[in-house]
Symmetry: C2
Subunit: 161 residues, 2 copies
């Protein structure tokens, strides 16, 4: 049976912040990455589309980077939401994060045709800034390691320059 | 007049290596990033699709990371191809690279609706390993800084595990 994320933080983002190509539920053409708790860690699961290739048989690195990116911001949102006394599904609006930096180490070619699983471990750097260390698994093997520095969305994102 | 890359290294990749979702000319659904020389630097230009949003008005960070990723491998290929005495368009088959690591610092929100331009500076670390420092511009402002470590494609990518 395929694993799924039942309660995802992205299901709770306010509509105005639910347009992300990676993880926005309102972006019809997007990937719809979804991130939830698994104990003290976070998890996202995604099956790449047929066109998400590096070469036939292997997943495109940019897709892996995108998966890590949204898993990072989603994990930070889950963490701060819990710190504020909330869990996905309790009706409270979660904080929305953006990525300050994204690092990906590609350890081995990522096989195409199986679900990818991102597992995140979160550390608070500052009340508005979190570091998320991420392992991306395919067939139970770690194919990529990621690190995302996520910060609470600044006002520059809500007023156009 | 919009800038374009006339002679791109991706136009020269062998057919078997032209399926990348980011930069493969044979991947119908992909981004078709194209990378060429501009003096001693490299350049790619890309206009994000309407759905490539972080929020309305701003480009998705994973798309910026993907752009940096393929610009990095394309730049390394251009560099080694020139070192071997070749330029895109001369009929020689260029070397194909993969990404070992990808780092992106998002300096400011990237506006949506204008072409993005990646400019790369390449440094040889080893005959099969290159570092590419990349600036991503929108409206002449640097929105993101990237670093790609690109290595000549290993045999693990051409035989499925």
């Amino acid at each position: 049976m395929e694993e799924t994320v039942v309660k995802a933080i992205q299901d709770e983002y306010p509509d105005d912040f639910a347009w992300c190509y990676g993880c926005g539920r309102l972006n019809v053409a997007g990937h719809h990455f979804r991130t939830g708790w698994q104990g003290e860690q976070t998890v996202s699961i995604y099956s790449p589309d047929p066109e998400h290739l590096a070469l036939p048989g292997f997943v495109y690195g940019g897709l892996v980077a995108s998966f890590i990116d949204c898993h990072g911001t989603g994990s930070a949102s889950l963490f701060l939401h819990r710190k504020n006394g909330h869990e996905p599904g309790d009706g409270a609006e979660p904080p929305r994060f953006v990525t300050a930096s994204l690092n990906v180490n590609f350890l081995k070619p990522t096989p195409h045709g199986v679900p990818l699983k991102a597992v995140g471990t979160i550390q608070e750097i500052h009340p508005k800034k979190y570091k998320v260390e991420i392992e991306v698994f395919a067939n139970d093997a770690v194919c990529a390691l990621g690190e995302v520095i996520a910060v609470v969305m600044p006002s520059t994102f809500t007023k156009k320059e």
